[in-house]
Symmetry: D2
Subunit: 93 residues, 4 copies
């Protein structure tokens, strides 16, 4: 099941833009490592990437709750919906 069609286009564009920035940051990290950059600066950067990924997760869960989960509840699949929300909650760090 995909995104709700009403919200999908704008959100997908935003998410892809943010994932492209992260892709650039990962390539930057590769350069930092091969240029022997300072360990502390590298960890500061990996940490920033992890925070960006977390904020993408927040946006995707928000969309999920507004669309997929709502439809699942309405369609009598509440148990699946609950299991999956709990799954991503436990994964979260």
């Amino acid at each position: 099941m995909g995104y709700n069609l009403l919200v999908e286009k704008d959100l997908n564009k935003k998410l892809i833009r943010r994932l492209k920035i992260i892709e650039g940051q990962i390539r930057g990290l590769q350069r930092m490592v091969s240029d022997n950059k300072y360990c502390i600066d590298i960890i500061t950067q990996t940490s920033a990437v992890k925070r960006s990924l977390s904020s993408i997760e927040d946006a995707i869960l928000e969309n999920h709750l507004d669309t997929c989960a709502t439809k699942q509840m309405a369609a009598g699949n509440a148990s699946k919906a609950r299991k999956e929300i709990l799954h991503v909650y436990k994964l979260k760090r």
Copy 2:
């Protein structure tokens, strides 16, 4: 200040290999989003990328403690070394 020359080459190669895998995962995430893949599967994947980045951070801090931090302590820069270790510890999630 870069990595200790003795450990650098092998570790750098390993880290770059792992960062290239992560780069591939980020591009995979872009495809998942543009293909409207299921939200829960996307979050499961971002979560895996964050765990890979955390394990890279562990390896870099280990190297930092073994090389840079040790040299800083020996060179009378213990205060800088301590401040930086505390900095990455506070950043860690």
Copy 3:
């Protein structure tokens, strides 16, 4: 709004038992600090307490999704339910 009456009693008992263990661990931490115990051992213990609290959170969210959130959805309060699930997800570390 409280717990669903069917699941409440057993879960509440279990949670209180676990919170009493945590209370004991917090008092143990106070003793460790006033006895000048080794810093690393203290941090290892605070970390264990945080993991216990996280696992209590998982159990409470599971119960919330099975009871309160389900009732809210059924009662037309889906928006409140979604907002609150997102809130605890963002809080999670």
Copy 4:
């Protein structure tokens, strides 16, 4: 090995004060559970306790680096010091 004697007294007092507040919060959580308080409010509170514990960990690691770890390095136990710092870093969430 305990805290450095110069910093110990003040830091220990502060830490015990903060751990007593946390003990009170844990007892508050027990009351919230037995009073069937709202799940979301309980999780918000466990989350606050975890953040307080993290900030205690930061203070203890800072003290550790300033005292124990510095002494270990000076005494030729650098390897033990590094291993332990890495240990708490990996534990951190």
